[in-house]
Amino acid sequence: MNLAIFLLALFDGVAYAALVFIVALGLTLIFGVMRILNVAHGSLYAIGAYATVSLTGYVLALGFAPVLAFPLMIVSAVLVGIAIGGPLEYFLLRRIYDKSEVLQLLVTFAVFMILEDVQRLVWGTQPYFDSSALQVLGNVSVFGVTYTAYQLILLPLIAVVLLLGMRFFLRRTVTGKLITATTEDREAAQSIGIDADKVFLFTFVIGAVLAGLGGALASPTTSILPGMGADMIVLSFAVVATAGLGQIEGAALTALMIGLGRSFAVYLYPEISVLVPYLIMVLVLLVRPEGLFGSPAARKI
């Protein structure tokens, strides 16, 4: 393995980890606050990607500059969060907070199945590809290795900003503190006047926006196909479970671990590259069942 290949694998891994982290961040935030694992998160990711490609394609066809691809990503992500995430929480999840964990899982799974077909109905089964955002930023050369600036600089930068922003938001802002308080003890929070329903709705929309943003940011780098949502939900669950459910900083580290593991496997043992994330997850969970950064839950008797 010479330096060039090493660097390529490193860059691939970092770019991939950044994307997975953004999606996993939404997943783990929703779980941390609402105690629901949203299987439909994968669909929101896929819909974010589809929406971005459609919007960008439409706007660029009107003759606007390709730079507009970036704000359109944010627009699509917010659209996904508000138009799909909002009603999902308000009309459906709100009814099942008192149900058992398994039923909640089944409900989000049912939503996932529905949304998979919605994608197929709206966008068909042919792959989409639109790399205008990638071309706007051009390439950079590091030690003779040429790589796209979008993947090497922009994606990791966004991931870091989101990580720091989320930390700041949850610990320093009033809304963030309300969310943290509701997470700690819903009843106590309600008794001091926090509208827990509103907090849940808000959290879920934020989580959904993050899923959509992950898809939007991924759209210039991959071709968009049916089934990408299923892959992503399993992968981001692997990241979140390895870190410990609800652990935001941990998710960043495990995303990096899994992203690098996968990309180095692509160059060294291509056959097993798909398996690497799961191997890492299984190995970690064998030693630490609650995840790398999770603490064992106290049992109620």
Binding site: L37, L92, R95, I96, S100, E101, V102, L103, L105, L106, V107, F109, A110, V111, F112, M113, I114, E116, D117, V118, R120, L121, A230, V234, F237, A238, A241, L245, E271, V274, L275, Y278, M281, V282, L285, L286, P289, R299, I301
Partner: protein
């Protein structure tokens, strides 16, 4: 010691609901006997439905496996894994040793699924709820990508043929073999269904179901919940294996599709549709599902998953007992009307 302590629990749980509902129970069990008789008669009365029933029963056995886990309050989104492993085990055996006996293929498939489930089970029984469901999904996706990637051995997305095995030394034609498969499936459905119901009432089965109600109490009894869950997990995988290898023989080809997460979701769907935790519900659900799919998917192939998801939501939110729950409440109402003076 442990068996003695849970003995009273078993009897207490069994007698109380049966006392009040015995006329309803007998009416229902009569219905099941009629149902089985009808299934036995299908190849003669309505030969065109034979294949549909064959697939429904094979799938029903897989659903029964998922149903077993639901009894412990656990849901697996990856049980198609065992369905597929068994089918591939049968197919590999037939490729390696052509004209193997039908019974050996069946046993090889079940053995494959059972072995895999012990291996995976030792890991996943440490988890409950979300983790249990998602880890099973992860394992099934790992196996799926292995099947797709190592196409030299597995035939990739096209899968491999499962040649028709011999039956006790004689090679049969397509129709005769179909008949044999059909009646073996009926026997397996009745036999394994009965066995599973007996197992639910056995001490091990009771310990297993306690995981849903009160796992901590199990530990106080000195019983390892992991071991109890593992026993149920292996049973559920073996049932899925029986279904999978029978499905493989009925279709004559096995593809990675067998392991695809949509298949797992389908099994969970049917189990919930039939009635979460009901043995009869698993087969009833599978039959209705296959029938609707055969006729409706022609018109609604594009939105099939959407329909499934929609129904799943409706059942969970409005009819948590599933088809069996609806059926039982109908019978209850009738028997209440009859004995109105009570």
């Amino acid at each position: 010691m442990s068996t003695r302590t849970d003995q009273p629990d078993t009897t207490a749980g069994k007698t109380s609901p049966e006392k009040g509902a015995s006329p309803m129970k007998s009416a229902l069990s009569l219905l099941w006997i009629i149902g089985i008789a009808a299934v036995v008669a299908v190849p003669f009365v309505a030969p065109s439905l034979k294949l549909l029933f064959t697939f429904a029963m094979a799938k029903g056995l897989g659903v029964l496996g998922v149903t077993v886990l639901l009894r412990a309050g656990q849901v697996s989104f990856g049980h198609a894994l065992y369905f597929g492993i068994a089918a591939y085990a049968g197919a590999f055996l037939m490729t390696a040793m052509p004209s193997t006996d039908f019974l050996i293929v069946l046993l090889a498939g079940v053995a494959g699924a059972t072995l895999a489930s012990i291996f995976v089970g030792l890991f996943v029984v440490r988890y409950r709820g979300i983790f249990f469901g998602m880890l099973n999904l992860a394992f099934s996706m790992i196996f799926w990508s292995i099947l797709e990637k190592f196409y030299h051995y597995t035939g990739g997305a096209d899968g491999i043929r499962l040649e028709r095995p011999t039956v006790f030394g004689s090679a049969l034609n397509f129709n005769d073999f179909g008949m044999i498969l059909y009646y073996v499936l009926v026997a397996l459905m009745v036999g394994l269904g009965w066995y599973t119901m007996r197992w639910f009432n056995s001490p091990v089965g009771n310990l297993f179901q306690t995981i849903k109600t009160n796992e901590t109490r199990l530990e106080y009894l000195g019983v390892s919940p992991k071991r109890a869950l593992l026993s149920g997990y292996v049973l559920s995988a073996a049932l899925c294996g029986v279904g999978g290898v029978m499905m493989g023989m009925a279709q004559g080809v096995v593809t990675p599709e067998y392991v695809w997460w949509v298949r797992s979701a389908e099994m969970v769907f049917i189990a919930v549709l039939g009635g979460a935790g009901s043995v009869q519900g698993a087969f009833l659900g599978a039959l209705i599902y296959e029938a609707v799919r055969t006729y409706a998917s022609v018109y609604a192939g594009d939105v099939w998953q959407m329909i499934l998801g929609g129904f799943l939501l409706i059942i969970i939110l409005f009819a948590p007992g599933g088809l069996i729950g609806i059926l039982e409440s109908l019978f209850k109402r009738k028997s209440d009307k009859k004995g109105g003076g009570k």
